[in-house]
């Protein structure tokens, strides 16, 4: 059931969204919108509250206060609908290493309710797109890291979710594969999938349409990379990040 009153050009809409653990305010009244098909970079220092915020947006953690609509669904009432309409890729590799590539695709596709016919077409598409025809029947554990990451991403968008959440998807990946990974992101965003991505690589922040930078639970800046650099009179995103996060009180991970 979709809530018709919401602006459906927005994939994510939050208003003063907060999460407290006892006395500690992990996320402090964050308000922002993410447009459909946008590549949105969600940056912040370790311990700034990114993971907690992301867990609320995915319907995995109930906010303490504030409002949020994800793909048109309310984060308090419709968490199951949210989960069905998003994809998620964690920084830790989470496909089944002892299943083959095809088995993983069938397993995750099945969970998201794809029909047998859809599974068949989707598997073929994905394997061709990644160019892993030779590896389709091999155990995932035997694939090089870069391929695993690309496969994880493709599996996370297998059910054509409205939004895909990527938590440091390129950590430790070689520079060539990192760029191939971003091509997959661009392609998905071209198809209208909204990308919500965290990264510690500041060059990748430049590839986002807009980025937000979280410091001590609050969103301290949100704009296009070009506007942020101009505003902070900085030559690179690295410099913008440094200026904002340098004053952080919390450094906890």
């Amino acid at each position: 059931m979709k809530i018709q009153t919401v602006d459906r050009e927005l994939s994510i809409k939050t208003e003063k969204l907060s999460k407290r653990f006892g006395q500690f305010t992990a996320v402090n009244e964050i308000t922002f919108d993410v447009h459909k098909g946008e590549i949105f970079g969600f940056l912040g220092a370790n311990g700034a509250g990114k993971t907690t915020a992301m867990r609320m947006l995915c319907g995995l953690s109930t906010p303490t206060s504030g409002k949020a609509q994800i793909a048109g669904f309310d984060v308090y009432k419709h968490t199951e609908d949210i989960k069905r309409n998003i994809g998620y890729m964690s920084q830790k590799f989470s496909l089944y290493e002892d299943l083959t590539v095809l088995e993983n695709i069938r397993f995750f596709g099945g969970i998201y309710g794809l029909s047998n016919q859809q599974l068949k077409t989707k598997s073929e598409q994905l394997i061709t797109q990644l160019g892993i025809q030779q590896e389709a029947k091999k155990l995932v554990s035997s694939l090089p890291l870069g391929w695993k990451q690309k496969l994880s991403f493709s599996v996370a968008v297998l059910h054509e979710p409205e939004i895909v959440f990527l938590d440091e998807p390129t950590g430790g990946v070689d520079p060539v594969t990192r760029r191939q990974f971003w091509n997959l992101i661009y392609e998905a965003s071209d198809r209208g999938i909204t990308i919500f991505v965290t990264t510690h690589y500041m060059d990748e922040a430049e590839y986002c349409n807009r980025i937000s930078i979280m410091v001590d639970g609050k969103i301290e800046a949100l704009d296009t990379p070009a506007n942020l650099k101009q505003r902070f009179n900085a030559s690179s995103m690295d410099d913008v990040f440094y200026q904002l996060a340098r004053g952080a009180q919390r450094t906890e991970g």
């Binding site: 370790n46 520079p175 690179s236 906890e252």
Partner: protein
């Protein structure tokens, strides 16, 4: 005598004999800050484990501080410090207990070498009664570094100390390493972040168990053979697709705000003239405006270590 000498070390794993380290040789001078730069699975951790005598190589020889890694393994263990990639202190001991445990094991006291860790330890001292398991990521990293240093090692091995750490904390960590270097401790550090390479005296670029190159960051950058241009236009994705078809284009990769386009040098490497650069810049601009791009910026640029790594992979 070099602090670390590695001669054709090979390490394979499993039935398939997959090469984790494939005949690697290098040496590290006393007091040098040496970086192993490469992605996950390149073989960095295996090299660390061989040099800290935790793993036997299949073949090859190596010595640390003049001692053989096989014959004199006990002597090596006494004199090196090792900070593994995975946090491996005692989670249920406090900060202070962990530090005093490692000092005792190595037959020393916190007091004796306090000057070595002082800069780092004062940052976690307010939490000295907290259990290590309850510390934040950044504080765990600082405690692990203190524990690896407390016996005044002659060689310090740091395996991916900055992985998953935000850019501000990474910068601080490298500043700590620079200060340690002044104490004449030899440091071997690994990282998947190419931008950290320039903070080392010398580096090895490593992929699939092989060294692609080993030298000072400046020399590696200097030996980049092609001409490199930074190009900017409205849409990075279509810009890359289009630049790949530019005549003389060798490769084209996104580098933050700009796209780096490498072009075949007309003459020998390193001999491009300003006129030649001007011509190339104009050619690229014309090509892009013909293709319908707007707001085009093209300028010659110096390669980064990441450009070199990509070149060496191709």
């Amino acid at each position: 005598m070099d602090a670390v000498i590695v001669d054709s070390i090979t390490k394979t794993y499993g039935k398939e004999k997959t090469h984790a380290v494939n005949g690697v040789s290098f040496s590290v001078k006393k007091g040098e800050l040496f970086g192993l730069i490469g992605p996950d699975g390149a073989g960095k951790t295996s090299i660390f484990r061989v040099l800290t005598t935790l793993l036997l190589p299949d073949s090859g020889r190596a010595s640390v501080d003049g001692f053989d890694i096989v014959k004199d393994f006990r002597k090596i263990r006494d004199r090196v410090g090792y900070m593994p990639g995975k946090f491996s202190l005692y989670q249920d001991l406090t900060v202070e207990e962990n530090l005093s445990f490692f000092a005792t094991v190595f037959g020393t006291t916190i007091k004796e070498n306090y000057n070595l860790i002082k800069d780092i330890y004062i940052q976690i001292e307010p939490f000295k009664d907290r259990r290590a398991g309850k510390l934040s990521g950044g504080m765990k990293q600082k405690l692990a570094l203190c524990c690896a240093l407390i016996h005044k090692p002659s060689v310090l091995f740091l395996d991916e100390p900055t992985t998953g750490v935000d850019p501000v904390s990474r910068k601080e960590f490298w500043e700590m390493l620079r200060r340690l270097r002044e104490q004449e401790i030899t440091i071997i550090v690994s990282t998947p972040y190419m931008d950290e390479a320039t903070r080392c005296d010398r580096i090895a670029l490593i992929q699939n168990g092989n060294f692609l190159s080993a030298d000072t960051p400046e020399s590696i950058i200097h030996s980049y053979p092609d001409m490199l241009y930074a190009v900017k236009a409205e849409n990075i994705y279509t810009l890359i697709q289009s630049l790949k078809n530019f005549e003389n284009a060798l490769s084209c990769h996104a580098f933050g705000e700009y796209v780096h386009l490498s072009v075949k040098p007309a003459l020998l490497k390193g001999t491009t003239t300003p006129a030649e650069d001007h011509k190339n810049t104009e050619d690229i601009k014309n090509y892009l405006s013909m293709a319908g791009f707007k707001d085009i910026v093209v300028k010659k640029t110096e390669p980064t270590i990441e450009d070199c790594f990509i070149k060496l992979l191709s």
